[in-house]
């Protein structure tokens, strides 16, 4: 490893490391604006200029010496941008001399030349790289003296560039073009991380500005640009003007929007969540989070249930906990214990799952379930880690990674661009990783993508195909046949050549990763074929269940067993199946907000903490234990599920041994020898042994396909998300829609077993005929359900 001398310290860094990272590794600082972890270095801001030189070898292969016999350093004739300079053996870097500081102060001055000084009203104030550097370099009096020698703090006396100051790029993001310092982080980000070319520089020279000519920004990973913009040019519109950076209480936690468990910071102020930002986890989400994880928090303080509620004379009335307990005791009276059901949310923690499983066991009840459960347990598949994707030489996706497990989209794209796992230096991830190159096209041969509708990742796939909903088993069967060297039966809609190509690449690959979506996980036959494919061929699997803690809950034994429907229910889920609600006589809801379902069905409501407010543990899609930590949110008497289960048990007259997270953790440690209080910084892989048998879901059949979507119905309560998503779209092949008497643009009210929903009809001729596609919004992705379409006037369209 090359030895590099930074000022007075000598460090060793891996070959190919940038001078910038060598400087940080050595514990020195160098200013920067354009370099950013995980993005290609461009060397465009010129802020990180340093003086550098290296020794040279003579023709004899020995280092050339100077007169005094020391190894001679050949200095580069110019100052060098340290972010784009690779270290070499014996390199000497100077960051402290006057020459270097002078050059850097010059870059700060130039950067500020056209930057508005509106820090008092800028959300970035207090957390702005430019502000910090201006403070640091702005007092270089030496270079800023007026005619009579007095210090002058600026000599830029011209009017600054005036351009669009409030330019909404999307409902989520607003751009202030005057503040932009042209670091190009946002442009590189979109191109290199989610792989969308939706933002670019327009014009050139001093007129260059950031813009888009496409309709808004795709809202899957757009929010990350607000984190990485070094100034206040790109701001989160949900959080804008909601607090200064130093006023927020920042809680490190984990997002429960999907099964990846992205690391987040929850920024709260006066008991309210104002902003969510990405928190670095190099093994999981780098410094990126999905838009749902970032912007999907607005609902938390809306319609909040703050005290227990008890149904009195038809309406839900505020009550004390004692009254609620009494009401529950009364309602549960006479219900046989084995007919009491427990329905957990998909993001219930391991600790909560443990308590629920214990209670179900005590009761002898078979109805123990969680929302977002798939027909086949996710634990049946050997879990891949995201990092495995970087090693894979073939990735096969059956489903929609972008929507079902947003992070996997990012990792797949990293792999296709040839990104390697970066080394860890003293300061963490390299800031200017010279192995990442701008404009690297994805290597399509590494990806095969199949789904019941065209997905985003298909754009990068060499082998791809759209099959009909419900035909996942046919597809997997055909792949199985091809791999066994047999002739494959035709799969409707899928090109036989593409399938063959995928099978071929799969066979040749040494490290394979399989991504399975709801389409497979909810189809017992397909899931079993997939399991065979993975196990017989040695592939690792990312089972993309919608439940954030599916693997954790399964490990705790939260899984239905009997066939009897419960007569009384503790429901902690957003959207319990209609059948369940209809059959249960007595329903206790543990809910954070008073949704329509709760309003209609609850006999007792107990105020719930949201996942932003809990302490607990999740086991993510990779089998990684992650810790949820509570942010300070003002939510009245809200309680966690574990406490509520304890109370519910009490109402049933049985004893639960777990009343506190602490107790559950102690039990966990005892059983599995892992201390959940002391997980590793980036989470810890744990492979529980789980054996559960498939449980097909009910209510299938029909030609409305509930398409997986990153957004959940609760998100729509947020004003911004609501505006961003607009009316839901019901998509269908034009022939299919017209045959049903539905025309493009029609606003339709849909009645489905999962409730009533308004949507606008859109044509898409790439969709399989005979089907309608509606975003599932969390309720039951991948389900095929019957529906009724009503035109607005109430007239029946079919």
């Amino acid at each position: 490893m090359p030895k590099v001398k930074v000022n007075d310290r000598t460090v060793e860094v891996p070959p190919g490391t940038s001078a910038m990272d060598a400087i940080f590794h050595a514990g020195y600082d160098v200013p920067l604006f354009c370099a950013e972890r995980h993005l290609s270095p461009t060397g465009s801001c010129r802020m990180c200029l340093v003086k550098a030189g290296s020794p040279r070898k003579g023709p004899d292969g020995e280092w050339i010496k100077d007169e005094s016999g020391e190894i001679k350093i050949f200095w580069f004739p110019k100052l060098m941008a340290s972010c784009t300079l690779a270290v070499s053996e014996g390199m000497v870097i100077d960051t402290l001399s006057d020459e270097v500081r002078h050059a850097q102060s010059g870059m700060v001055e130039l950067t500020l030349a056209n930057h508005p000084l509106d820090c008092p009203t800028c959300d970035k104030g207090g957390a702005c790289d430019l502000q910090d550097r201006a403070y640091e370099y702005g007092l270089e009096q030496k270079f800023y003296t007026g005619p009579t020698g007095e210090p002058v703090y600026t000599r830029y006396e011209f009017s600054k560039r005036h351009v669009d100051k409030h330019h909404p790029l999307s409902e989520f993001i607003i751009l202030d073009r005057e503040r932009c310092i042209h670091c190009k982080r946002c442009v590189r980000y979109f191109e290199e991380i989610p792989g969308d070319q939706v933002l670019d520089f327009i014009e050139r020279a001093v007129h260059t500005f950031i813009g888009t000519a496409d309709e808004g920004l795709p809202s899957n990973f757009s929010g990350n640009i607000t984190d990485i913009c070094p100034v206040g040019a790109l701001l989160d519109r949900v959080a804008r003007f909601r607090g200064r950076n130093w006023e927020f209480e920042q809680t490190p936690s984990v997002s429960t929007e999907d099964a990846s468990g992205q690391y987040v910071w929850i920024d709260a102020r006066s008991g309210r969540i104002e902003r969510i930002r990405a928190r670095e986890n190099p093994e999981l989400n780098d410094i990126w989070i999905s838009d749902a994880a970032r912007f999907g928090h607005e609902w938390v303080d809306q319609d909040r249930v703050t005290t227990p509620l008890v149904r009195k004379g038809g309406s839900l009335e505020p009550a004390s906990w004692e009254e609620a307990l009494a009401a529950m005791q009364k309602g549960l009276e006479g219900v046989p214990q084995e007919r009491v059901g427990l329905l957990l949310p998909g993001d219930a923690t391991i600790e909560e799952g443990m308590a629920a499983a214990e209670l179900a066991k005590t009761l002898g009840s078979g109805y123990l379930d969680f929302e977002g459960r798939s027909a086949v347990p996710a634990s049946n598949f050997p879990a891949a880690t995201f990092a495995d994707l970087l090693e894979a030489d073939y990735i096969l996706t059956i489903g929609d990674p972008t929507e079902e497990l947003p992070l996997s989209h990012v990792w797949i794209y990293k792999r296709l661009r040839g990104v390697k796992t970066p080394p860890r230096l003293n300061h963490g991830t390299p800031i200017a990783d010279l192995s990442i190159r701008e404009h690297t096209p994805p290597d399509r041969s590494l990806l095969g993508a199949f789904a019941p509708y065209p997905t985003r990742v298909m754009e990068w796939a060499e082998a791809k195909g759209v099959f009909e909903p419900g035909q996942a088993s046919a597809l997997l069967g055909a792949i199985d046949a091809l791999l066994a060297g047999r002739d494959a039966p035709r799969v409707a809609g899928v090109d036989a050549g593409a399938l063959k190509q995928a099978a071929q690449r799969w066979r040749k690959a040494k490290k394979r990763v399989l991504l399975l979506g709801a389409e497979v996980l909810n189809d017992v036959e397909a899931a079993q074929l997939a399991e065979k494919l993975a196990k017989s061929q040695g592939a690792l699997v990312l089972a993309m269940t919608p439940a954030a803690n599916a693997r954790g809950l399964e490990a705790m034994g939260v899984w239905p067993s009997g066939d009897k429907m419960p007569r009384a229910l503790l429901a902690a889920a957003d959207n319990p199946p209609q059948l369940l609600l209809d059959l249960a006589e007595f329903k206790v809801f543990h809910a954070a907000r008073l949704s329509e379902v709760v309003r209609q069905h609850a006999d007792v409501v107990l105020p719930a903490k949201t996942s932003y407010e809990k302490l607990g543990t999740l086991l993510n899609v990779e089998n990684r234990l992650l810790e949820l930590r509570p942010a300070h949110v003002e939510a009245g008497e809200a309680e966690g599920l574990i406490q509520v289960i304890y109370l519910f048990a009490q109402a049933l007259g049985v004893k639960s041994s777990l009343r506190l997270v602490r107790q559950a953790r102690a039990r966990f440690t005892e059983r599995y020898k892992i201390n959940l209080d002391k997980l590793e910084e980036f989470g810890q892989v744990w492979r529980p042994r789980v054996s559960l048998s498939p449980r097909p879901r009910q209510g299938e059949g029909g030609n409305l396909y509930l398409r997986p979507s990153m957004w959940k119905s609760r998100h729509l309560l947020g004003e911004t998300v609501q505006r961003a998503l607009g009316t839901l779209t019901l998509a269908a092949h034009p022939q299919t829609a017209l045959a049903e008497g539905l025309d493009v643009g029609a606003t339709i009210t849909l009645q489905t077993p999962w409730g009533t929903q308004a949507a606008r009809l859109e044509f898409d001729d790439e969709l399989p005929k005979g089907w309608f596609f509606l975003p599932a919004l969390g309720s039951n992705p991948g389900a095929r359900v019957p529906f009724k379409a009503l035109v607005p006037e109430g007239g029946e369209a079919r």
């Binding site: 060397g43 010129r46 941008a81 870059m107 950067t111 011209f158 042209h182 050139r204 020279a205």
Partner: protein, 439 residues
């Protein structure tokens, strides 16, 4: 005058070579070219020499890149790996530096010469595909070049198995659309790939990873045309022209108030005096300064000392300027230096690609504002100091040399004509009054 190196266009041993056919009727047609020995050199090289021998010969000739930087062409060629990957040869015909217009007539009047040069270059570097990146405004040159390529392809001089040598080479023309930065080799590659033409990071150098990530060499039109003659007449013939480290002949250009402004092919080392007086017919009005090598090279006073400088790379560096592309501009006494330089600064401000801070905010943003202040007569001594400080902060700090190219003309002007800037400060007007110049 018939021994020793040839350093004058008047030396009887010297005859125009690159421009030998420029201006002749039908000179751009294949028949004409063949009648004058066309494609014989390529044939001889491809069938009689190893690629390495070609590179050696070009190295030996001492040819240095004619695109402005003067890097030895043979050495550049030797950087290309021997790896069996697709290699590319790109001809830089962007010619956007103000005061340069030499490549244009090669393409307009002798396009086959360039094609032949590219075949030889392609062979030497195992590049089977070539692109000519031509500035978008050169319509006539484009048409003639495309027609010539068509003719050559038809004759089998381009395409598969050239001259039975087994070497394949094909050539395409890509048109620019008005951006000076596309002359910078990495920006050019981005432009060819359909990206914004911002320069790319080096390393990796084009020879490792250039166009489409493949090994690529980029040469100027004149450099490639010169190769034909080096291979035809030998490195020694080429090297007998010019000075110690600047060999061969070169195309010099004269513009501004000269009797016969135009392109002149002369041996390296010819003096400015010979170029301006003996070839361009001398000035048509009193001159105070001249730009020696294209807009980015610092101007020099029009005095005996500088007129007698030999036009080679080293002499100009010694005079704190540069040979650049050899584009000489005469600046008359009646024109204000501040005004003339302001014109060039506006050019660079307009052409900055906007990628890096010093160029975008300094060259494109701040410098023009300072110049405007001078023009309006509102500048102070402090502004002059600020400008000089600013030049220090820009020069050598930008991503690519465009910003330096904007700094140098000001440096030259301040070195030799500082009093005209001071005049603007003290009197609020130009030191000289320029009358109408349009006829």
């Amino acid at each position: 005058m018939s021994t020793g190196p040839i350093v004058s266009g008047k030396d009887p041993r010297f005859a125009p070579t690159l421009y030998a056919h420029v201006g002749k009727p039908d000179s751009w047609k294949l028949d004409y070219y063949l009648a004058h020995g066309g494609y014989q050199t390529a044939k001889a090289v491809l069938t009689g020499k190893q690629p390495d021998e070609v590179v050696e010969e070009v190295k030996k000739s001492g040819l240095r890149g004619r695109g402005g930087a003067g890097f030895p062409t043979g050495v550049k060629w030797s950087f290309m790996p021997k790896d069996g990957r697709q290699h590319y040869l790109i001809c830089n015909a962007d010619e956007s530096e103000p005061a340069s217009f030499k490549d244009r007539y090669i393409m307009e009047d002798d396009p086959h010469q360039l094609i032949e040069g590219m075949i030889i270059g392609g062979y030497a570097m195992a590049a089977t595909k070539g692109y000519v990146y031509i500035r978008g405004e050169y319509k006539k040159a484009y048409e003639r070049l495309v027609a010539a390529i068509g003719e050559a392809r038809q004759q089998g001089y381009l395409g598969k198995d050239l001259f039975g040598s087994g070497f394949d080479f094909d050539l395409y023309v890509h048109r620019g659309a008005g951006a000076y930065i596309c002359g910078e080799e990495t920006a050019l590659m981005n432009s060819l790939e359909g990206l914004r033409a911002n320069p790319r990071m080096k390393p990796p150098f084009p020879a490792q990873s250039g166009l489409y990530g493949k090994p690529t060499t980029i040469n100027n039109v004149e450099s490639l045309a010169s190769v034909v003659h080096i291979m035809q007449r030998g490195a020694d013939w080429f090297a007998q022209m010019g000075t110690e480290r600047s060999k061969g002949m070169k195309l010099y250009q004269v513009s501004g108030p000269a009797r016969r402004p135009g392109v002149y092919e002369l041996p390296m080392g010819t003096t400015f005096r010979e170029l301006i007086y003996d070839w361009a017919g001398g000035p048509t009005e009193p001159i105070k300064a001249f730009i020696p090598g294209g807009s980015s090279t610092p101007l020099l006073p029009f005095s005996d000392e500088y007129l007698d400088l030999p036009m080679d790379y080293e002499s100009l560096v010694a005079a704190k300027s540069s040979l650049g592309t050899g584009g000489v501009v005469l600046i008359p006494q009646s024109v204000c230096i501040v005004d003339a330089i302001w014109n060039l600064i506006r050019f660079y401000a307009h052409e900055s690609c906007g990628k890096c801070t010093p160029c975008r905010e300094g060259v494109s943003g701040w410098l023009p504002q300072l110049f405007e202040k001078f023009e309006r007569g509102q500048a102070t001594h402090q502004d002059l100091k600020t400008m000089e400080d600013l030049l220090d902060q820009i020069e050598g700090r930008s991503f690519c040399p465009l910003a330096d190219a904007a700094v140098w003309p000001i440096r030259g002007a301040l070195r030799h004509f500082r009093e005209e800037f001071v005049h603007h400060i003290e009197h609020g007007t130009c030191a000289v009054q320029s009358g109408p110049r349009w006829r």
